[in-house]
Symmetry: C2
Amino acid sequence: MSTSKIYLEIVKHLRVMISNNGLKPGDKIPSERDLSERLDVGRSSVREALRALELLGLIETKKGEGTFLRDFRGNQLVQILSTFILQDEKAKRDVFETKYIIEIDCLRLALKRIDRKNIVKLRNWITKIESFEDDEFFYQIILLADNHLFLRIWLILKDYYYSLVQTPPKYKREDYLFLLEALEEKNEELTVAAYWKLRNLSV
Amino acid sequence: MSTSKIYLEIVKHLRVMISNNGLKPGDKIPSERDLSERLDVGRSSVREALRALELLGLIETKKGEGTFLRDFRGNQLVQILSTFILQDEKAKRDVFETKYIIEIDCLRLALKRIDRKNIVKLRNWITKIESFEDDEFFYQIILLADNHLFLRIWLILKDYYYSLVQTPPKYKREDYLFLLEALEEKNEELTVAAYWKLRNLSV
DNA sequence: ATGAAATAGTGGTCAGACCACAATTTTTCT
DNA sequence: AGAAAAATTGTGGTCTGACCACTATTTCAT
């Protein structure tokens, strides 16, 4: 039944194991030899599964210590994928477009769910911190949007984006403040307009 | 220099090889034993690299035949990550929300790029075909939006959506026609409103 | 107690051996 | 000669056993 691809079966088993045992990022998973014995498969098959997950950034291996769950963000994965995928200009345009649109989507969501406390916190952060990064700002926004899928998609898009632009543009601090004001007023139209201004996009 | 992780070195080599030889999707890449010999590494290391690329959907292996490049434009990245992420119940709400929002995004994009010919074609299709499906309609819309990333993301969301709802709701045919009218007028506000009406969503 | 040395556990890699499968080539039969 | 059958070759899939390098733990001498 299992048919081909033992390593894919192992990936499945690992998922179940992680889920059942409630393993979290940073936790250690069983050793390769242990898994090999438990699942009754060769160690090489276990390694094929683990290397695949490692390339995805889902686990991290430390020689002499073991294998650990990662709080995965894009790592080398994106570099690899981007050189494979982002070849034509059309694909690049799609990355930019999609990133922008999803950022606006998350602004709309955040607008509904944000409260004054969040606004104040963000404002303080922007004004106080010497050099703050655009992606850090939108990371906070997307957390406020409270949609895990958008977060994951955005993290990937962000990495694609940075693999495409050599020098990320520097945006004006005041524009972030405009954006926050619009959010505070819960004015959707104004929020979108502020985003366009920030990004120097034409309507 | 090479430092650890032979399999990552092999991934790099493969990228260069593909690039230099101008390999395209469908083309065959050297056999595992061949690569092992050429790069002077063990076959198991080659396999670890290949399995990682396979899980990413970049290559395809056929027993008895060989390993081939895949059409990686439809990479499974999001899908793989999703299957790891979409485990809890909270994620369920996110699937619905994200699917709806992205459909609206694509309506907005389609609105800019659509022309009368497309409208007529869609209208004829809706009115003539006895039973047409909601996802078929939006598939057409998203094609018109002309954004490959959104298409990929939506296709995945659609599958998750249908795995979450037991009986897909049946929408009113007239509401699709309203939507098309709004698109034809290139009225964004009206289009979004028509979408809400179609989906029976409150504002 | 303290620090050094031995030990055990772990990932990293390789080599060799089968198996199952597909394509090709060779042989055999009509 | 032509077609069917059989052997051969090449490939991915898997397992086993063996080292190596590194880390953490334990043991032991001081």
